[in-house]
Symmetry: C3
């Protein structure tokens, strides 16, 4: 059985296969509209996310399947103190596949240890959001034809934005990618990601000026400054208006640059930019539905197969994760760590370096 | 593409067509139980409404379609600051038709400007609620055979009750209607509606006595005094018990009078009246489901057609709407106004007179 | 038309029939996957319960039917002051069968008086939870082959735990059952249940020691100490860790003892016990889905039949129920009482003795 917890759970070949299936769905939707007849998707959303939840729902429905679940932890047994482990064991009796959104880093890893059906990570804390990344990749594939030798700018909240982390990791598997990280000092990319990029020998630069660098970009990935990630409202208000994309800045971009955004946006892209043909963020939503169709279909197909993803780390016990947002701080699970060939150790659930 | 935002978006001929389709559905439901197979309805409910949401859901299911959506703004991306405009652009990628309930006046008008699928207004603030009106019309049609020359009494909260406004406008298109508005001074019909009725030359009277006028009525439309419309609980408590319909008052009504109520009721109709055959409010619920089936079916049929409703006003820019409950006060939209042949100007979104 | 409000609404023969249908569904699910095509289940959940709601949903979907409803009273018309009576009359127009969870004792009895479709009690206050009992019975049937001559221990919160009350009543209809009630003094079984057991002449004992009695049990039914039933948090904290089932205690149990739990559990069964083959609580979830399929299917079949359950009491008027948690304290319903042949009187809605 296979899960999708992090984008790197999929080999580049498997990602290509998913992209091909998505393209085939776009071309011939009628071939797929009953392939999940009699199957049920459970959407377990411990924090609200209309877009992602409804995208999964629409995807399953267009495959002919059914959807059940919850959209809010307060209307669930969670309020009675149930663990993620028990919840997914229960849901495994009621559904054929699970899509989980959780506020704690690593929760879907816990789920995958106890579920007897495939688990899809639909976003965990500020950690991973692999299906958004698949949507991003499908959008790039359809607009750019491929992934090699692209210069990719990320702008906004690069510290907490999980879509940034996920997309960066996914692109890190192709050739000749150049990264440009554009953010205020307070919201720079986290250390583990910087080290990961350095280890792989990719070219990257960090800057606080979108104006200076927009002309070099093939892809501009804008992100929201997320209010819910700040403890301090004043700091939020000071930063939220930085790094706004407007028509003037767009004029300095290449004619075939594409603008991505995981949505929802607040005001980091002004509405006028929506009418620029380089703006792809609503296309991403549509592509997100198609790639989720391909993913659900494939995971159910792969369910009884044995094509497990070979990993380059060893799973070891011992110690405690120091990340207070890690699911291991609240859920009664064995503390596990990934031991890399380099000798580095990181939390199995949330990837925090020890 | 057609939307249903206000009841007057439909010509009297189109309303007749919807009523006929609904009657045919009642007669031969099996003809319609797969006509929306593979289609999806999105129910976007920014404020709770069990009845309306479940009626839309049941309607779509009886047409063979699927339903997705949210029932509460808190469990949606709205809590992250997303605009109505962006939400409907996203939902247009995921569903084939939208039913929207919103707490702000005019929100479905904003939605219709950005959606690429048909939008149905399922109630906006205290402004319009056209599908309730269609349910009311179907109930009158089935009970009375037609609409001309009826004396129609409205009782209760006529100031904030959007169902009253919508039904009054709809009836204002038939011949020989007499209106009797029965309410406390504080809850009389709004000015724009009074002017509208006067302009059309209809006979109407305003009174605070149900007892005096019930004998003249063909239709008695009761409404709830809505707690959530009051800032002041004391005023609510003082008014809520006025204008209660009981068996004694019913005894003075005509034998073929019908009693309508949009539900939910609190105590404005005593339970004993439910057993009077003239009480039609639960029939209205059933009729509401059938007319919503007819509406969804028709809007999806009309989607690629060009039968746009000719309007008698010009849309002009300039100025700001003064209604603090208008969606234009919170959503970043162009201020637009309807300029009538008479020279009157009203807000495009919420109908507030300038 | 038939409802399932309390487990004793079903004769032992009917329970056997439901168990047989469930076993047939397990054996040949494909025979049943379209039997409810075109039917709709309404899940009216006035308080949250993920497990029960999703189990009903999955059951209806596996029968080929559709599901609509609400999972939280706040997102429903209840917040506008609508009665249960009116809500179910409305829902009767929109769905073919109702599953209701309510925080007040007796609410489904009110619903059954006003609904025109079958009503299933999905848990009312601390009163009844008959479909959990059916799941328990199916689990015992599949593991033990039958019900006679079993020694059944209940451990934990026996005062408020409605699953305990329901399962005790159901077992009280078989032969040679011995009951062992294991609880702290504060959480002993309620009087009416004790009297009921005594009247039927069953053997029972009450104790506060699980250790002393586990060796005698064929079935150990563990329950959660429910935080939401306590006014006083300190008392909750003092009691919640009593009566925890761990591996050491399990070692004293019979090799063919089975452990049941209605879930969610907090910490009353330690995780290590999950891997003991005698632990059946996740099997109960699966069995819960199958028995709910059998129930929905049967109630829709029985809908037009006349096989009403003969009762041994007379329904009489007069007086007021003294249970402040009874639905009759908030809903405008006629106070009704069951008059037993013994002369005892209890509330028709919540069973509280007068």
């Amino acid at each position: 059985m296979r899960n999708l917890l992090d984008i790197t759970d999929l080999t580049p070949q498997e990602i290509n296969s998913l992209l091909s299936i998505a393209m085939d769905i776009i071309k011939s939707p009628e071939k797929y509209n009953t392939v999940c007849k009699g199957k049920k998707l459970a959407t377990l959303f411990y924090e609200p996310s209309t877009r992602t939840r409804l995208s999964f729902s629409a995807a399953m429905m267009e495959l002919g399947g059914n959807v059940l679940g919850f959209s809010d932890a307060n209307a669930s047994s969670v309020s009675k103190g149930e663990t993620v482990a028990d919840t997914v064991r229960v849901i495994s009796c009621l559904a054929d596949i699970i899509a989980m959104r959780h506020n704690k880093d690593g929760a879907p890893w816990v789920a995958s240890q106890f579920a007897s059906v495939p688990v899809i990570n639909a976003g965990d804390g500020s950690h991973c959001h692999p299906t958004q990344t698949l949507a991003d990749l499908l959008t790039v594939k359809r607009r750019k034809g491929g992934f090699d030798n692209l210069t990719v700018g990320f702008c906004g909240d690069l510290k907490y934005g999980r879509t940034v982390h996920s997309f960066t990791r996914a692109l890190g598997r192709y050739k000749g990618i150049k990264f440009v990280f554009i953010s205020p000092e307070e919201l720079k990319i986290p250390n583990y990601l910087r080290q990961d990029i350095e280890n792989k020998g990719f070219s990257y630069l960090e800057t606080d000026s979108l104006d200076k660098h927009i002309a070099s970009l093939d892809i501009l990935y804008m992100t929201r400054i997320q209010k819910e990630r700040f403890d301090d409202e004043e700091q939020y208000n000071r930063l939220k208006d930085s790094f706004i994309l407007d028509v003037k800045k767009m004029n300095n971009g290449k004619s075939d640059m594409i603008v991505l955004h995981p949505l929802p946006r607040v005001n980091e892209i002004v509405q006028e930019v929506d009418f620029d043909p380089r703006a792809c963020y609503f296309e991403q939503v549509l592509n997100g539905k198609y790639i989720r169709m391909a993913l659900i279909y494939s995971l159910l197909q792969w369910r009884d197969g044995s094509n497990l993803q070979p990993v380059d780390y060893e799973v070891v016990e011992g110690g405690t994760c120091n990340n207070s947002k890690c699911i291991s701080s609240t859920e009664q699970v064995k503390p596990l760590f990934k031991l890399m060939p380099s000798g580095k150790k990181s939390c199995f659930y949330c990837d925090e370096l020890v």
